[in-house]
Structures are given as structure tokens and as C-alpha cells.
């Protein structure tokens, strides 16, 4: 982990293995191999959970703790230099000791009728039933939120099943659409333009600002995209 300063009040915990290797090292093959995505995601999740715990306990002051693909941002930190020193001395518990019970698994009922299923099947070198089997049996985790309020980036698919976005995004993707892009699955909380590959839809409300919590999918949550 590398702790990068961000302005006067924020810190970025960076879990990428080889941050910004100079080009001459990379081309000569001297740079460290990138860390596997799954390991990085596990580190992000372990630190996200640890930082939230420490903030709840009063060990840490931060207005925002924002996990992302390979980083955790702490914003609204009163003394970033001293805080960075303290964080460097912390070790998050390994996931094995904090393994959640099955009761913590959120089931999202999905009607698998997305128009891009054949395209996904082609990328995965299988047929549509093969895609459905994979999606239904995968245990996903909300790695982070972004793009829109309540849009969770779900990890859990094997790295080799990453799919490209549509070359031209759709102008309107309906709310509740379940879709894939890169290594992630996601569900559109509201209708919006989007370039992810559509595999299905859910009737659940993903984001309601008057609910507690307002988002159905919060970072760290384990999710199964079950057949409706």
C-alpha cells in the first residue's frame, strides 16, 4: 500500500502494485508485474471495512471514506500527515477472520432477458444458458459505488470473463437493468445513457434517498443475482 496526499484535507490509499512505472523500465520488462485484480480488490475491501470500523470507534476522523477499483480515498481529514503516519501502522484483519455468515448475502431477483446475452455468450465462448449459470452461481461483492447514486460495481466474476463496453453507448438504459462491463457487473438505479452489456433486469429499487440506507448495494455487501 502507498499513501498518496490529495490536496490539503485528503489521502489516497493506493493498492496498485506498481504505481506509474517510468516507461523505460516498463518497456525493458523491469517493472513489477501488476498485482492480480482479485488481490487488489480484496485489499481495498479489507481496508475499507477497517477504516469504517476505526471511524465508528473514533480512531479516525474523515468525512468521506470512498473505496474504488484499487484505492480508498479519505476526504475531510483534519491532519492528513499525522493520519497517514497512523494508518501506515495499521493492519486490517485478514478476510478469513471476518468471513460473514450466509445471512449477510443479499439476493437480487433478476429476470435474465437482456438483449446483449448473445454478445456476452460470444465473449465467454459459451451459450446463453452457460452465461445464466455463471451469473446465478457467482457470489458477487459490492466493491464500490460510482457513476450514479446507488450504482454498485460488483466484483466476483473470474478475470478472464471481462467484457468490453458497447462501442456506442445506448442513449437510454432502463432503471433496474443488470449489465456487465470490464470485470464488473452493475445495476442501473435510474434510467440513464449507458454502454454496459445488458443481461437482465430487476424490479428492486436500487436507490431511494428517503430509505436507510438510501442505496440497496453498499460497499462490502455480498450479492447473488438470483433468477427471479
Amino acid at each position: 500500500m502507498r499513501i498518496r496526499p490529495v490536496g490539503a484535507h485528503a489521502l489516497l490509499l493506493d493498492f496498485t502494485a506498481s504505481p506509474a512505472e517510468p516507461a523505460h523500465l516498463r518497456s525493458a520488462g523491469l517493472a513489477a508485474a501488476p498485482q492480480p485484480a482479485a488481490e487488489v480488490a480484496a485489499l481495498v475491501e479489507a481496508w475499507r471495512a477497517e477504516l469504517w470500523r476505526r471511524r465508528d470507534r473514533g480512531d479516525l476522523v474523515a468525512t468521506e471514506i470512498v473505496p474504488a477499483a484499487a484505492t480508498v480515498l479519505l476526504d475531510g481529514v483534519p491532519d492528513p500527515v499525522a493520519t497517514a503516519d497512523r494508518i501506515a501502522g495499521w493492519t486490517p484483519p485478514s478476510p478469513a477472520t471476518t468471513a460473514p455468515a450466509d445471512a449477510d448475502l443479499t439476493e437480487v431477483p433478476v429476470t435474465y432477458d437482456g438483449e446483449d446475452l448473445p454478445r456476452v455468450a460470444e465473449h465467454w465462448r459459451t451459450d446463453v444458458p452457460g452465461v445464466l449459470r455463471q451469473l446465478r452461481q457467482t457470489e458477487f461483492r459490492v466493491a464500490f459505488c460510482g457513476f450514479a447514486p446507488g450504482f454498485g460495481y460488483l466484483t466476483g466474476l473470474p478475470a478472464e470473463l471481462a467484457v468490453p463496453r458497447l462501442p456506442t453507448p445506448r442513449t437510454r438504459v432502463p432503471a433496474g437493468s443488470v449489465a456487465l462491463a470490464g470485470p464488473y457487473a452493475g445495476i442501473y438505479p435510474t434510467a440513464s445513457p449507458g454502454g454496459w452489456l445488458l443481461v437482465g433486469r430487476t424490479a428492486l429499487t436500487l436507490f431511494n434517498p428517503h430509505a436507510h440506507p438510501p442505496a440497496l448495494l453498499t460497499p462490502g455487501l455480498r450479492v447473488r443475482l438470483a433468477a427471479a
Binding site: R4, P5, P67, T71, L73, C145, G146, P214
Partner: protein, 284 residues
């Protein structure tokens, strides 16, 4: 209940308070007034708590009519203000009789005004804030002609203030930045350009960000940056190399490298297209 009739909404007038902090991990931007200090001052002038919701009025001004007598204050851009047929001043409390038109004229210098009304704009809060977030759509829609806004009950008398110091509107902004978190994605020449050349505020700037045009900043590292959390004032450099400074409605994560972070973005709230921006910082 006293209400505020929107007679002329203008090009972009929105309800703003100090924003909805603490929800970035769910993808919710902070939003809030682009110059929180100006909104706080306007609120103090009319006897409101600093966190009360007011209006952020862009460029063309707007016309408003309270249903009952109230007190208002306008802070920010240089603009004419009339209460009925009488000229008023910015930067001090103004009594507006019930049914009388309050007219805020176009900004002569600067870009945005903040209007506080005694009791505050009392639309329903969303996640603890009444701010209009132009990126995510949370909060009330931007004002339209004919809207009727509810006002809260005043909690304190207006401040006994005759005059406040008006904001400066310099033709060139000197913004202090701190490098990072991803300045190592850029060549040393990019850092020389960032600190050594002038940029101009582009006309496509908005509440999400101030887009700049000038010398493109060359990257040392090719490829994509996995999305990571963004802060207010982050200077992000997209593929075309032209920097963009994120303002209140910025997305919570972004996939282009942030070369530096501006300490104080509030001068950008008044920066018209074409305004010159220069960067300096503790490291340079």
C-alpha cells in the same frame, strides 16, 4: 407560510445550501453552493443559520416576489438589485414588502449571486440537504418561471450591517495547488506547463467543473487509470490533456489522473469564460 414566487427564473437558478457530505461512498456527490462563504454571509445578514438554503443565481439574474414581507440579502457577483422601483444594494439586508418584486439584474462582473431569505428556502431536504445537484439530479429541480418556493420561519432578526466588503473579480486567478495524487503519471514537462503557462476558463464550464483550455499536459504513463475517488478542487486531466478543475457537483469517482488539487476553488465560482487561470503551489 410565506412563499417566494419565481417570476423570472433566469438561465440557471438553483436552491443551494452547504451540500450533502458523507454519502460519496454510495455515489452521491456533495453538491452545495459553489462559494459556501458567500452563502454563509448572505444567511448571516438575514439572521439565518449559515447552513440555511438560499438561491444560487447564474449570470442573468432573476425576479422574485415574496407573498409576505421578508428580508433578503444578495452576495456575490456585481449586479443591480431593485426592491419594487427602488434600487437596493448587494451585501446588506434588504426589507422586501409582501407582494413587491425583488429584481436581481444580470451580473456585470463575476458570474453568480447567492440570495438568502429570512427563514431559508424550505423545500424538502434530500439526504440532509436542499441543494440541487446538477450531476445526479438529487434535490429540487432548477427554478422555473412560476415556481412557488416555501420559506421557513425566521429564527433571528437581520444583522445590523450597513455594508460588507464586496468580492473582488480579478481578470486573472492565481490558484494555489498541491501536486498529486497522480502527478507521477505526467512528464516533467507537464509540470512545467502547469505552473508556467496561463490557462483560460472554457465556456463549457458548469457546476460540475471548470474546464480549462491551454497547453495540453503530456502523460508519462499511457493506459487507463482504474476509477478512484475525487475531491473538490481536483485537477483532472482527460485524454485531450486539457485540465478540468472539479467543483461542487463533481462525480465521486473518476478514471483520469488527477495531477494536482486546488486549495480553494471558490474564486472559480465567479470566473467567466475567458478568465485567465495560473497555478502555483508550495512545491513550485
Amino acid at each position: 407560510m410565506t412563499r417566494l414566487r419565481v417570476v423570472r427564473a433566469g438561465v440557471l437558478s438553483t436552491v443551494q445550501d452547504l451540500g450533502r457530505a458523507g454519502w460519496a461512498h454510495l455515489g452521491v456527490p456533495r453538491s452545495g453552493a459553489l462559494d459556501p462563504g458567500a452563502l454563509r454571509l448572505a444567511n448571516r445578514l438575514v439572521g439565518n443559520p449559515e447552513s440555511a438554503a438560499g438561491l444560487e443565481i447564474t449570470l442573468t439574474g432573476c425576479d422574485l416576489r415574496p407573498t409576505r414581507a421578508t428580508t433578503v440579502a444578495v452576495v456575490g457577483a456585481e449586479a443591480d438589485v431593485w426592491v419594487g422601483d427602488r434600487p437596493g444594494d448587494t451585501g446588506r439586508p434588504l426589507a422586501v414588502p409582501g407582494g413587491t418584486m425583488l429584481r436581481i439584474g444580470p451580473a456585470r462582473r463575476g458570474l453568480r449571486c447567492w440570495l438568502a431569505v429570512a427563514g431559508g428556502i424550505a423545500v424538502d431536504p434530500v439526504l440532509g440537504s436542499r441543494s440541487t445537484d446538477t450531476l445526479s439530479g438529487l434535490g429540487p429541480a432548477p427554478l422555473r418561471d412560476g415556481d412557488l418556493l416555501p420559506l421557513g420561519a425566521p429564527t433571528a432578526p437581520p444583522a445590523p450591517v450597513d455594508v460588507t466588503v464586496p468580492a473582488a473579480h480579478p481578470a486573472q486567478l492565481d490558484l494555489a495547488v498541491r501536486l498529486g495524487p497522480r502527478h507521477d503519471w505526467f512528464t516533467p514537462a507537464a509540470l512545467d506547463l502547469l505552473f508556467g503557462t496561463a490557462y483560460q476558463v472554457s465556456p463549457v464550464s458548469n457546476r460540475v467543473g471548470a474546464r480549462l483550455t491551454g497547453a495540453p499536459l503530456p502523460r508519462a504513463v499511457a493506459g487507463e487509470l482504474p476509477s478512484e475517488g475525487l475531491v473538490l478542487g481536483a485537477v483532472q486531466v482527460p485524454a485531450d490533456g486539457q485540465p478540468l478543475i472539479f467543483l461542487a457537483d463533481h462525480p465521486v469517482t473518476g478514471g483520469y489522473p488527477v495531477i494536482a488539487v486546488v486549495d480553494d476553488v471558490t474564486p472559480l465560482a465567479q470566473a467567466r469564460p475567458g478568465t485567465t487561470v495560473r497555478f502555483h503551489g508550495p512545491q513550485r
